[in-house]
């Protein structure tokens, strides 16, 4: 399991959220919006720290709360960002929110990426769809500490150009010389002059070397399945591959029961797992 | 009932599985059993503890050809499922069993202790020692049973009982007492009853006609008819939704009440409603007639009088 020290929410009242306020809403795609928020209590905001990959439960009291990966990097001290895809009851209500609206937040929860163990290594990042949310936090963290890592390559896939999030970031990542960033869409579209092809295939075609490399993949289950197969062909061992798992969640603190994958709980043991942690339990 | 075993074996030549009962050594009573092979069928039994309505499994096995041992009341549920289109007539092979009247083993256990042999070899209820009237643990529906002989079946087993069913009456006389209550008293009565409900949904899952199950509206987030809170008003509301969804569909098999772990007299609600439906539509669920609600034409807002 991740060796990053657990940075948890206030352990004395783990089911009680802290009031927070939305300061900005970014419309990423027709179905995804990013919400930037700050805790109402400046003391909590000042203390707040987390590792990329950790999650939060953001909610609207009276509607409910849902689990999201923190998509801003730890170095961002003035807001916490979640990128939310509209899928159901709570996420639809969240999509109605505007700057100035009140929410309630329990964060950070879970274990983040064990970035301290990755010093000196090459990092391969592959994100599909909304799976890019935790990877944005990770990538921005890595760029903040660029000298600590070897080669960085990033693959980001979505169905159509309109489904790619983080427009501003992408332009910046594409320009940077010290990372290799490739965005791809599933099949050709007029007006798209970038790469086409499903992400696992584009990634495999890039033939990233397995040696001294950590691969981090997040995305829909189908994509993860193909990406794992591709990484295996490229010679990646289980201990070199990290992913985040998704299961229905309610409590986020290892008590309500439902998020287990075998004997492990996605909310507290994960959501970040190395393939070696999971064994045959995936 | 030794003839049952060869009949099940014969049925297995044409179906994938036969639903019946086998003796549970620990419980000392019959429990539902799924017979896939003739060898398994050797364990089949039929006695006064076969209260479970196995029709509940039919919609879940809609992709299979299924044989089912059915009492009179179970056959009514099967007929209703067929009339509603939830089960295909050609998909079920009904082994009709003449019924001696069933006892509620959970009630019997609460009187005699779990696992006490409540049935003797002849299939008659035998409970020496303590004095509990058989009527008290006989299922409500069995008293004044409407049709002990299956309304629908492909083969029968057992002799039709020459004895008339026990006369209708009821444990603790709840229905009579309820009829005499004022509206305020009735409200209090149900509030007390539902204060025990734990929302385990055993009532729904054991009901052969509650076919929505996994997508039941009671638990739907939207429109959120009944809150999730386990408190009396919400639980009562949840149950009333279930009851109303069974209007003209409930065959009175009493499975919900038998399944309820905290002893809520659910049949009081359902029987009351079944009577109202009969009065209004001249229809009692469980025959081969088309259910009145299926003949409602939503576009023209009319009933099909031809029904």
């Amino acid at each position: 399991m991740s060796t990053v020290p657990r940075k948890g929410i206030k352990a004395t009242k783990p089911l009680v959220p802290e009031p927070a306020t939305i300061i900005d809403v970014i419309v990423e795609t027709p179905s995804i919006r990013s919400f930037r928020l700050v805790f109402d209590d400046p003391g909590i905001m000042k203390e707040f720290s987390f590792a990329p990959g950790q999650i939060g439960l953001m909610g609207i009291p009276g509607v409910g709360e849902s689990t999201f990966a923190i998509s801003s990097p730890p170095s961002r001290r003035d807001y916490i960002q979640f990128s939310v895809m509209k899928t159901g009851f709570v996420t639809s209500a969240i999509h109605e929110l505007k700057a100035g609206d009140a929410v309630a937040l329990r964060a950070p929860l879970g274990c983040g990426f064990p970035v301290d163990n990755w010093k000196g290594k090459n990092i391969l990042i592959a994100g599909g769809g909304i799976g890019m949310a935790p990877l944005r936090s990770l990538l921005l963290y890595i760029l903040d500490h660029r000298h600590q890592f070897g080669d960085i390559s990033v693959f980001y896939g979505a169905r159509t150009p309109a489904d790619l999030c983080f427009v501003g970031d992408r332009a910046h990542w594409e320009e940077r010389e010290d990372i290799a960033f490739i965005a791809t869409i599933d099949s050709g579209q007029p007006g798209w002059d970038g790469r086409t092809g499903v992400l696992p295939r584009v990634m495999e075609a890039g033939r990233p070397p397995a040696e001294n490399t950590v691969a981090v993949i997040c995305g829909p289950p189908v994509m993860i399945g193909y990406a794992l197969a591709a990484l295996a062909r490229l010679g990646f061992a289980e201990g070199q591959i990290f992913t985040t798992l998704e299961r229905k969640m309610k409590c986020g603190i290892g008590l309500c029961g439902r998020c287990n994958v075998g004997s492990k709980y996605v909310c507290t043991d994960g959501p970040v797992f190395s393939l070696a942690d999971l064994g045959n339990e995936i | 009932m030794e003839e049952l075993i060869p009949i099940i074996k014969k049925a297995l030549e044409q179906v994938d599985v036969v639903l019946g009962w086998a003796q549970s050594p620990a419980a000392g009573v019959a429990v539902p059993a799924f017979f896939h092979t003739p060898a398994e069928a050797d364990a089949a039994v039929f006695d006064s503890t076969c209260a479970h309505n196995l029709a509940v499994y039919l919609p879940r096995l809609a992709d299979k050809k299924v044989g089912i041992v059915a009492k009179g009341c179970d056959a009514r549920s099967i007929a209703q499922l067929i009339a509603e289109g939830a089960v295909k007539r050609s998909g079920v092979f009904v082994i009709g069993a003449s019924c001696p009247g069933m006892i509620d083993v959970k009630k019997a256990w609460r009187c005699f202790g779990f696992g006490k042999q409540v049935c003797d070899a002849a299939g008659k209820v035998a409970m020496e020692g303590k004095t509990v009237a058989r009527e008290e643990i006989l299922l409500w529906k069995c008293r004044g049973c409407r049709d002990p002989e299956p309304v629908i079946c492909d083969v029968t087993v057992g002799e039709a009982s020459s004895e008339a069913p026990a006369p209708p009456a009821e444990p603790a006389g709840i229905r009579k007492r309820f009829a005499a209550m004022t509206v305020a008293e009735r409200r209090q009565f149900w509030q007390d009853q539902f204060s025990r409900c734990i929302r385990c949904y055993a009532c729904r899952e054991a009901c052969p006609l509650c076919v929505c199950r996994d997508v039941c509206t009671i638990q739907a987030h939207e429109p959120g008819w009944a809150g999730a809170a386990v408190d009396s008003p919400q639980s009562w509301m949840a149950q009333l939704i279930r009851v109303n969804h069974l209007a003209g569909r409930c065959t009175g098999c009493e499975e919900c009440e038998r399944a309820c772990p905290v002893g809520i007299p659910l049949m009081l609600l359902l029987e009351e409603q079944n009577d109202v439906v009969e009065e209004l539509f001249g229809y009692r669920a469980g025959g081969e007639a088309k259910p009145p609600f299926l003949t409602f034409d939503i576009k023209n807002d009319t009933w099909d009088e031809e029904r």
Partner: protein
């Protein structure tokens, strides 16, 4: 050992009632012997022979519990949320709990009071647990659904109890297990006695050796689980009745235009919706997957994570299952240890 004459029990319960609600097993009115733990009032008859349909876990993990209240208010331009946690003021005492129920409280403690980060120390549970006194009545007889003797200590388990009563002629021997128990046993309602403890119930036994591994060995044999779960109706009774099951759901309720509460209520891994994700994906779509998870959590995962079985052999899931399922049959079917 201390002894309390039968005729002093009412006085003891009255003494306990002075600063706590006393819960005792009683037959529910208008039912055929349905037994539940209910608040005791003077004169109420306590039923100790028959098994209660539900355990005492509701006193620490109620079927529905308000986690906090919230209120929206305007602060200048902005909408703000105020959150308030109700403080638990009431103490509870349970009289005539069974050893298996009391022991399950300790199993729950291992999870809800952990706080290591693998789970969090739950403030609501902690408050209720701290305000609970448990007086256990040791079982001298049992029924055929009981299988506590399969586990360490069996009917003689003392974990989770403050005070244990052993029925003897004329009253009960009282063994104090905790400081609270010692305080109670020191009351003038008790006296010294040199009577012997009665022999306790010997229940059915199932082979638990290597059970976790046996289960995992069969884990991928989905046909085995399909056969095992064949009659299961996927209701919630076996989980709700289990003294060790603890799953819950969380939901919000508006109680006026601007205020409401967040609640948790019991939930069960036997329900389809329990793991249903908003995409429509369900990792445990069939009853077989869910039945397997129930067994695996109790006899493999929880022991692996917490060093204890998530089952004390109380037999409720056997007694009350509307479809007559028996966990012991599955344990047997998993093969010898």
């Amino acid at each position: 050992m201390r002894f309390i004459p039968e005729e002093n029990i009412t006085a003891l319960l009255l003494r306990l009632s002075e600063n706590a609600t006393v819960w005792a097993p009683q037959v529910v009115r208008d039912t055929v012997n349905t037994v539940l733990f209910a608040p005791w009032r003077e004169g109420a008859e306590i039923e100790t022979g028959l098994y209660s349909a539900l355990p005492v876990k509701g006193l620490v993990l109620p079927a529905t519990e308000r986690l906090f209240s919230f209120r929206y208010h305007r602060a200048g331009e902005r909408e703000k949320i105020e959150i308030e946690v109700d403080e638990l003021r009431e103490r509870a005492a349970v009289f005539a709990a069974r050893a298996c129920d009391a022991k399950a409280l300790v199993t729950l403690d291992a999870l809800f009071l952990d706080g290591s980060g693998r789970s969090y120390n739950d403030q609501h549970y902690r408050a209720r647990r701290g305000a609970l006194t448990v007086i256990t009545l040791a079982c001298t007889s049992c029924d055929s659904a009981c299988f506590c003797s399969s586990f360490e200590d069996g009917a003689a388990a003392t974990a989770g109890s403050d005070l244990i009563f052993y029925p003897v002629s004329g009253g009960f021997l009282a063994e104090a297990v905790s400081a609270t128990g010692r305080e109670l046993a020191a009351l003038d309602l008790f006296q010294e006695s040199n009577l012997e403890k009665p022999p306790l119930a010997e229940t059915a036994k199932v082979e638990l050796a290597r059970l976790g591994q046996r289960l995992l060995d069969k884990f991928d044999d989905i046909d085995f689980w399909r056969r095992t779960a064949e009659g299961c109706l996927s209701c919630g009774y076996c989980s709700y009745a289990c003294p060790a099951c603890h799953c819950f759901n969380i939901f919000d309720e508006m109680e006026s235009d601007r205020a409401g509460g967040r609640y948790r209520c019991w939930d069960a891994c036997m329900f389809y919706a329990y793991t249903l994700e908003s995409s429509g994906h369900n990792p445990r779509p069939e009853a077989a997957h869910r039945y397997r998870n129930r067994l695996a959590h109790k006899f493999s995962y929880f022991p692996l994570n917490r060093g204890e079985f998530l089952c004390t052999g109380c037999g409720r899931c056997i007694r009350g299952c509307p479809a007559g399922r028996d966990v012991r049959d599955v344990i047997k079917a998993l093969g010898a240890g």
